[in-house]
């Protein structure tokens, strides 16, 4: 971009008439002042902090009292020996714990952040967490796993994203532990297939404004991965493809708790249940567009429009990088107002129409809910989805276009593709969690899908999870 054009763009950004605030706005704002100022005269964090400190103090007092009582009960002339004996194991235990958490460094001064990360991963995240790390993935550890179990799809995925990281010896052992950790035992929900898509998308999650301002973290997640040309994406087209989100929900359900609605990312669930294609595309990129009646009909004539973009599945050599499949990719969704009265994109994020590059082994799904106008004709256009891209092989621009017409919506939801049904059911379930509602019929329909194809674990997972959150199977 030359300086003249840049200056022109800056000028355009800086200019632009802004109307005066509407009359009475200042008064409206001021009217809120007494109510809110008086509502919280004390900073809540201080209150919380004091309460927390008091609880710790009480615990310490109780502990000291218990020790003193124990010592008092014991024989007086043996007390020093007993004390010595009872005190010695404590540092040993602590040391063992520290070594266990950081075996690679074999030091008693591990980095706290690393320990916390390992603990969390072991507690709630199964082995697929290796792929889902938003921070750099350790390449040597992943490679070692690949050599021992070359057919492990999880490891292949880990390689796919391994290039984005840098090598940090301190992360080696913890990463390996995660990669080789057995799935949580006795899980009521079946272990999922490895995900094709890339790591989590915090950007897609709704952020509570109050907590953000009170705790003062960044409003926008780190641009860490996004700044890397071929880095692991947190999202594609602004759509979360975070496989971790379902794992968190699953972990919550396994612990007997309904997941916090704020942590539910509907887009991520849609992408999780849409999964990889049944047959990977042979061309550089493929576009699937499908529409059906909504899985659960509420008021009005509702339909679900889905587009899914897939790139070829390629095996990546250990330590290698996944190459771009296509570049300068742009998605356009045209919805015809003559056929559709209202629409919405399903999910929390703000979609982005373009991506500079799509790597191989990628799948991304977006869903729209449409409220159809009555008396839709079979030949009437409902929506057009276009995928424009530049080929990385010959550099030419290409466009794939799919048109959805009225007749495409006439079929029953049950006759839609398996991928479409799972994605749309996942959306209904996710939104029921988000809205603290009952996932009506989701479990039953997912159960039907699971019965039809017992080898597909996702339908079973959805059936079990929806049942656990209040749906009837």
């Amino acid at each position: 971009m030359n300086s003249k054009r840049r200056a022109e763009l800056q000028r355009k950004l800086s200019m632009g008439a802004v109307p005066r605030p509407p009359a009475g706005l200042a008064e409206r704002i001021k009217a809120d002042i007494p109510k809110y100022l008086n509502a919280e005269p004390q900073p809540p964090r201080i209150t919380t902090s004091i309460a927390f400190t008091m609880r710790i103090a009480a615990s310490l007092l109780l502990l000291i009292t218990s020790v003193l009582v124990t010592l008092h009960v014991l024989e007086p002339n043996e007390a020093p020996v007993q004390m010595a004996a009872s005190r010695r194991p404590a540092p040993v235990q602590l040391e063992k714990a520290l070594i266990r958490q950081s075996p690679a460094t074999a030091t008693t001064t591990p980095a706290p952040a690393e320990e916390v990360r390992v603990d969390i991963s072991e507690d709630i995240v199964p082995e697929r967490m290796v792929v889902a790390q938003s921070h750099p993935v350790d390449i040597p550890a992943v490679r070692e796993r690949d050599e021992t179990r070359a057919d492990d799809a999880t490891t292949r995925n880990a390689q796919t994203f391994g290039y984005s990281g840098y090598h940090d010896a301190r992360r080696e052992a913890p990463t390996q532990q995660m990669a080789e950790a057995a799935p949580p035992p006795a899980a009521p929900v079946a272990e999922p297939e490895p995900a094709r898509a890339t790591p989590k998308a915090a950007a897609g999650e709704i952020v509570d404004a109050l907590s953000v301002t009170a705790e003062a973290p960044s409003l926008i997640p780190s641009a860490y991965a996004a700044d890397l040309e071929l880095g692991a994406k947190k999202s594609m087209f602004g759509i979360s493809v975070d496989p971790e989100n379902f794992q968190h929900i699953k972990a919550s359900l396994e612990s007997g708790a309904r997941p916090d609605r704020r942590t539910v990312n509907v887009e991520a669930l849609v992408n999780y249940f849409a999964g990889p294609p049944s047959r990977a595309p042979r061309r550089a990129v493929s576009l699937e567009v499908e529409a059906s009646p909504a899985p659960i009909q509420a008021e009005g004539d509702r339909a679900v429009l889905r587009f899914t973009i897939d790139t070829p599945a390629v095996d990546v050599p250990a330590g290698g990088s996944t190459l771009p499949a296509v570049k300068d990719v742009r998605v356009e969704v045209d919805i015809d107002r003559n056929a559709v009265a209202t629409f919405r994109r399903i999910g929390e994020g703000h979609s982005i129409s373009s991506e500079p590059v799509l790597l191989n082994n990628t799948s991304v799904t977006g869903l729209y809910e449409l409220e159809l106008r009555p008396r839709l004709k079979s030949s009437q256009r409902v929506a057009t989805v276009r995928l424009r891209y530049h080929s990385v092989t010959d550099g030419r621009s290409r466009t794939i276009e799919r048109v959805i017409r009225g007749r495409d919506l006439a079929k029953d939801w049950a006759r839609a593709s398996r991928r479409h049904r799972l994605a749309s059911l996942g959306a209904v379930w996710g939104e029921s969690l988000k809205n603290s509602a009952q996932p009506v019929e989701v479990a039953r329909r997912a159960e039907e899908l699971a019965t039809q194809n017992p080898r597909d674990p996702r339908a079973r997972e959805l059936a079990v999870a929806a049942s656990a959150t209040g749906g009837e199977r």
């Binding site: 950004l13 800086s14 950007a203 953000v212 960044s218 641009a223 107002r337 979609s351 373009s354 939104e431």
Partner: protein, 201 residues
Amino acid sequence: MAEVAPFPAREAEREVSAAAPWDDERTLLQAIRAGSAEAAEEMVERTYSAVFASIYRLCGDSDLAADLTQETYQKAWSALSGFDGRSQLFTWLYRIAYTTFLNHVRRPRRMTSLDEPESFDVRDESPRVDDLLADAEEAERLRKAVMHLPDDLRFTVTAHFWGGLPVKEIAEIEKITTVAIRKRLHKAFSILESMLEEETQ
């Protein structure tokens, strides 16, 4: 020659400054924290137009911008205890306003009507190509293009150009260097230019 009455605004200004000399933000904030509604009103007067303007440039709708401005201040009163005063008051307010706007556009279950007069553009998220764009339409096109930027770039561009925040303050918010912020701006310009070029082709 007839006597001219003092300009009312100036008169009011004098009264306020005599009663409540909050020359700088720090003393103003102290007064608000002490429960002074007068000081809070003063803060509103000083900042609400700029907050409204920054939200308007994000959403392009005056009524919505007014609602979100009001919501911004509601959140600000509640979050006041968490404001450490290290950044400028407006910077802090802008962050709340920006989050309020994002939360608004991300609210689920909001159907976009295609019957409303303002919903002339039926293409979702993608501005309609028009060779004869008027200035207002061009600004709207640019606004939509900015909204399509990745999150980090979008925040940087809007905070700098529409919120008027200096690069240094954005860097402090984002906890990165000013060089990184400038790189973001450069990257954002490149993306915006290609988006706009593509639209006009």
